[in-house]
Each structure stands twice: as structure tokens, then as C-alpha cells.
């Protein structure tokens, strides 16, 4: 259409200010799209962290806290559960499998997880996916260690390497257990969960690094007295609540058993307000962008009254002038949208390796979601609506100016 071409050429004539306007709007739209991408992906990554586990059991605390330290390796347990309690849980008739978890140590900034080979057999993440070995296999001896994909990549470890595991969580710890070198016996495939950042050893090994150095230890010495948490699978779905109630009322020790799905949901609800705040901020930023677009167009109108008078003298109707201005907003909006999508993907490609190495968060780069397409459509509609203001102004000017400019 001729008007759109004129609007385009007119904008091209003012390309610097038009480009800067588009850039500022584009940044706001990028923010909007980016917040949505991050929101969807964090939620996905959250819910993918654990699956197939019916109960998480730990010392009595809050369910969110238990979930955070046992599964996400965030924060610490303020109490452990005794080995006796774990044995009772493991041997319960409703329990199909159980994975003991003992936390509290680190290796060069990565958490050490003390467990047994049940971990490799029963732990599930994502859509009930099992852990797979990229190289090697499960723990085979006292000083065996299996590492997550990110640990292997960042520390450059391969099978057979000898490493030292320290007591405590810091990178540089006071009591490094130099005397107990471990051998890497297995490297896991990437899972995009905290497992990637884990250094996995046997429960006995955890005991060993806390004992004074000896050539050999007796089995009695290496017997765990307590663990941090346990993951449990029940015989049947029906027994989950029964077992949960049983554990929560366990008389020997105050325990807490939680359903991971519900705890995840609770945790996500907490995140929800943060996410909504981000969303509200990005809406405000988009609004500011649109306001600046209106300002730029309105400011330009004064200089363009001549242009409109010429068009009017050529027989353009006042409502053509209105449409010309609305098309201008439309072109700016579409241009900004294209730039914004470009920025989004540039940003995602730039962030992907950083998030993976710093947070172990795998950002998958996908096509725009339906929600994002809707956002863009709404944005374009909103900018056309915003464009009505300067267009109305131009319409009135061109009615009163006619073919004359009183300057």
C-alpha cells in the first residue's frame, strides 16, 4: 500500500531517531520475552530435578528446606537422621527402594554426596529418566568416586584420575584430607540437574575422610552413624501417604517425610511472586518504550506539518494522514519486534554457557513459545493503539492547517 511505503520512506529519512526509538522499544520487548523464557525454563528445570521419588525423608525442619538441601544441594541440614532410623525406613515393608544421602563435604567447590549404588539404580530426573554413565560405572571400592558431567568438564577430570576430597564446604578448607586420594571410576552424562555438579562417593568413604589417617579401617569404623536425608520409593502409589504418616509420627526420632511434587510446588509458589514482579517490571518498561515512541513521533510532527500540507494539497484526505501516522507506529513496532527477537536469541546464546558454568542451569534455546507470540501480537496492537494519539494530533493539525503552514 502506498501510504505504508510513504510512512516507511519518511521514517527512513529520519533513520537515526527512528532507529534509536526502535532500539529503546526493542530492549523493553527483549526484557519481556527474556523474562518469559527464563520463567518457563527455570520452572521446567525445577520440576525436572527430581522425578519418580515418592518421599524425601530428613530430620524435622521445613519441607522447603529439606527439599532445597537434599535435592538442590542448597543450604545445609541442621540435623541428621540416625542410621537406625534409616535402616528402619529401608526395611519397612512399604519401601521398595531407598537412597541414603550424606552431605556436608566438598571437592574444589562441588558438593560431595555420600550415598550407595542405589543412587545410580533408582534416582530419576526429568521425565523419569535414569542416570547414565558417559564413562566408567558405579562405585566399586572405598576410594571410588563418580562425578557429574559439569564437574568433569570444569575440572578436566577423566577416568582413573586421583583426587582429594575435603571435609567442609569451602574450596579451601582447613582440614584437607590429603591422605585419602580417591580414584574417578565413573563420569555421568549431563542431566541439567544438580547431579551434574555432584561428586558422588560411598557412605563408607564419607566416614573414612573424617577419621584420622590409617592404612586400613575396620568395617566397624566405616559404618555410618547418621545420614542427611533419604529418597524413598514405595511399593505402590497407595502406600505413599501411609508411609509418610508413619515416618512423620516415628517415635524414636523426629523425622520429616515430604512429597517432592508438593514441596516443589510450594517452592515454585514462592518463586511465583518474584516472577510476577519481573513480569510487572517488564510491562512497565514496555509501557515506557511506547511512551517514548509517542513522544518522538509527536515531537517530529511539528517539523512534518509541511509534509502533511503537501500531501493534503495533492488530495490526501485528512484520514490518510491519520493512517500514515498509525502506519508509522506500526512500522516502528514491527521493526522493534524484529530487533527484540534478534536481541533475545543473541542474549540466550551469550547466556547459555555462562548459566551452565556458573549455575549449572542448562538454558535450552527454543523457538518462541505461543505465549511469546501472543505477547508480541499484543505489543504490536498496543503500539498501534499508542500510535493513535500522535495520529489524531496530526489529523487535527492537517484539518486546521489545510494546505497552509502558519510558521
Amino acid at each position: 500500500m502506498r501510504l505504508i511505503k510513504l510512512a516507511f520512506l519518511s521514517l527512513w529519512n529520519r533513520k537515526l531517531s527512528a532507529f534509536l526509538t526502535m532500539l529503546s522499544i526493542a530492549l523493553s520487548v527483549t526484557l519481556l520475552l527474556g523474562v518469559e523464557t527464563i520463567r518457563v525454563q527455570t520452572k521446567q528445570s525445577f520440576t525436572n530435578t527430581i522425578s519418580g521419588t515418592d518421599l524425601i525423608v530428613g530430620a524435622r525442619s521445613g519441607s522447603t528446606q529439606l527439599l532445597l538441601y537434599s535435592v538442590f544441594h542448597m543450604g545445609n541440614a541442621n540435623n541428621n537422621i540416625s542410621w537406625n532410623s534409616y535402616e528402619a525406613l529401608r526395611d519397612n515393608s512399604k519401601t521398595k527402594w531407598s537412597i541414603p544421602i550424606s552431605l556436608g563435604d566438598s571437592h574444589r567447590g562441588f558438593r560431595v554426596v555420600g550415598t550407595d549404588n542405589n543412587f545410580f539404580e533408582f534416582f530419576r530426573y526429568g521425565n523419569k529418566q535414569a542416570l547414565e554413565f558417559a564413562q566408567g560405572g558405579p562405585l566399586s571400592q572405598l576410594y571410588s568416586v563418580t562425578i557429574g558431567a559439569q564437574v568433569a568438564r570444569e575440572l578436566g577430570y577423566s577416568i582413573g584420575d586421583q583426587v582429594v576430597v575435603a571435609h567442609g564446604l569451602g574450596d579451601v578448607s582447613f582440614s584437607r584430607h590429603q591422605q585419602h586420594p580417591f580414584t574417578i571410576d565413573g563420569i555421568l552424562k549431563p542431566t541439567a540437574t544438580p547431579v551434574d555438579r555432584s561428586v558422588i562417593v560411598s557412605l563408607a568413604a564419607i566416614e573414612a575422610i573424617h577419621l584420622p589417617y590409617q592404612e586400613t579401617y575396620s568395617p566397624e569404623q566405616l559404618k555410618s552413624s547418621n545420614i542427611t536425608a533419604a529418597l524413598v520409593g514405595t511399593q505402590s502409589r497407595m502406600q505413599v501417604f501411609e508411609l509418610q504418616r508413619e515416618l512423620n509420627q516415628y517415635s524414636q526420632e523426629p523425622l520429616l517425610a515430604i512429597l517432592p511434587g508438593i514441596a516443589l510446588h510450594e517452592l515454585w509458589t514462592m518463586m511465583d511472586s518474584v516472577e510476577q514482579a519481573l513480569f510487572a517490571i517488564s510491562i512497565c518498561v514496555v509501557f515506557t518504550g511506547l511512551l517514548s515512541m509517542i513522544t518522538v513521533i509527536l515531537a517530529g510532527l511539528r517539523e512534518r506539518r509541511r509534509e502533511m500540507a503537501i500531501l493534503r494539497s495533492l488530495g490526501a484526505r485528512a484520514h490518510s494522514i491519520f493512517l500514515l501516522l498509525v502506519s508509522e507506529s506500526l512500522i516502528l513496532a514491527i521493526g522493534s519486534t524484529l530487533i527484540a527477537v534478534g536481541f533475545l536469541y543473541l542474549g540466550l546464546f551469550a547466556l547459555q554457557p555462562i548459566l551452565l558454568s556458573k549455575l549449572g542451569f542448562y538454558l535450552s534455546i527454543e523457538a518462541l513459545s505461543l505465549v511469546q507470540w501472543k505477547m508480541l501480537a499484543l505489543f504490536i496492537a498496543a503500539s498501534m493503539a499508542a500510535g493513535i494519539l500522535p495520529a489524531l494530533h496530526a489529523y487535527r493539525l492537517s484539518l486546521s492547517d489545510g494546505m497552509m503552514i502558519k510558521t
Binding site: L6, R312, L314, R317, G402
Partner: protein
């Protein structure tokens, strides 16, 4: 038998909103086909207002303005816009051209808002582009400039491009509002000569408006707006 006038104004009265005095009060004013008329008047006497009334952009309070037999002041705004687009070519004092279009596209813009004008060219077997080129050459614009942005042209050249645009597809009426007042004497005479020659070739009626009485001798009909406008003589009384 006299032919139907191109423009026929009768009993026209116009006042600007919120002003007690009439700005224009014209009993009768005609332009006959192919006539070249010089309308003279000092600045501020209502020349531009009269042109806006003829163009149908302003509406008189009383009277009738007939353009090719149609009362433009009684048409709906969109119809008035169409009548203007189809039958009137305008040339203004300065800045007639859109800065973001090339010389050639500025001339072609004369057909942009008028189907009638485009069709008229088509019937003659001409494309907008070829006709633009022909007019520009007639008006002494060098071919090498056709693709240039208009701000690279001198003011004289810009006015000739504006004239070419006004005349594309031969509208019945060419209205030139002080088209030569930004030009020096030498360029001015050349411009008026070209304009009149081209208007004659097209058979267009020309209404040339200026404050400068020294240009009057070029035209067959000469009218002073203050004489025509009764409200002006009242004011002097």
C-alpha cells in the same frame, strides 16, 4: 455560447472562527478554460484563504464555489479531497517537495492520491514514470538529476519539479501560490515562461497568485484581490 467556467465563485462569504469581520466577501469570480489569470494582492489580504476555499479544505459560510460545475463546498470532505486530487495541481512558494523522495518520485506523487489522473495517463498510453521524465525535461531539469534527493537541487530547480508535479496528467486547473517569490529576477522570468508554456501545452487553466504587480503583464486576465473582495474595501472605508 460561453463554455462552462473551470472555476465559478458566487456570493462567497468567509470569516475565520471567532472573528467578527469577514475575511472574504466575493460576489463573483470566474476562470474560463485555458485562461491564464494573475491574482494580485498584498500579503494578508486573504489570498491563501481563497485558495484553501477553492481547494475545498476550508468551507465558506455563504455562497458557492463550483469547480468544473461541482460545488466543492457542498461535497463531503472525502469527495472534496478527491475532486482536488483529480482536477487541481498546486505549486507553493517553497518546500513543495517531500525530502525523502527522489525528484522523479516527487513528480509521480501527483498521481498518488488520484485514480483519475493515473487512468488519464494510462488512456494516453503513458506510464507515470515516463510522463514525469517528459515533464521534467520540458521544465529544464537535467536527466542526471532524476534519481537525486530533492534537497540537492537549487530552489529554482525545486520549483520546476513542483510545477512538473502539479501538471502531471494535465489537471484542468493549476494554482500557483507565489511560486516565483523565492527566485531571483532572472530565474523568475524563466520559471513563469516555462510554467505558462507548459500550461498552454496541457490546455490547463492557470491561476497565478502573487503580491508582485510587476508580473501581471505576462497574463491575459489580471485581477486584484482587494478589488474583488468587498470586505477589504469595507475595511478601508
Amino acid at each position: 455560447m460561453t463554455p462552462t467556467p473551470i472555476l465559478d465563485i458566487s456570493g462567497l462569504q468567509f470569516a475565520w472562527p471567532r472573528q467578527a469581520n469577514l475575511c472574504l466577501d466575493i460576489d463573483s469570480f470566474q476562470l474560463n478554460p485555458s485562461q491564464h489569470t494573475f491574482l494580485q494582492g498584498p500579503s494578508g489580504c486573504g489570498k491563501s484563504t481563497l485558495l484553501s476555499l477553492i481547494a475545498g479544505v476550508l468551507r465558506p459560510q455563504l455562497g458557492e464555489i463550483k469547480l468544473l460545475g461541482q460545488s466543492i463546498n457542498q461535497l463531503r470532505p472525502a469527495q472534496a479531497d478527491r475532486l482536488r486530487a483529480n482536477h487541481i495541481g498546486f505549486i507553493f512558494q517553497q518546500f513543495n517537495l517531500l525530502p525523502y523522495l527522489s525528484v522523479l518520485d516527487n513528480v509521480g506523487l501527483g498521481c498518488a492520491f488520484s485514480k483519475t489522473r493515473s487512468q488519464r495517463l494510462k488512456q494516453r498510453g503513458l506510464s507515470i514514470e515516463n510522463e514525469s521524465m517528459r515533464l521534467l525535461e520540458q521544465l529544464d531539469i537535467d536527466r542526471s538529476m532524476f534519481g537525486n534527493p530533492v534537497n540537492q537541487l537549487s530552489i529554482g530547480q525545486q520549483q520546476r519539479v513542483a510545477a512538473a508535479r502539479a501538471m502531471i496528467a494535465s489537471p484542468e486547473l493549476i494554482i500557483a501560490d507565489e511560486p516565483s517569490s523565492a527566485l531571483d529576477t532572472q530565474h523568475r522570468d524563466h520559471f513563469i515562461e516555462l510554467l505558462m508554456h507548459e500550461a498552454s501545452l496541457n490546455g490547463s487553466t492557470l491561476l497565478f497568485v502573487s503580491h508582485d504587480p510587476s508580473l501581471a503583464h505576462n497574463f491575459e486576465q489580471q485581477i486584484a484581490l482587494p478589488t474583488l473582495n468587498r470586505s477589504a474595501s469595507h475595511a478601508i472605508d
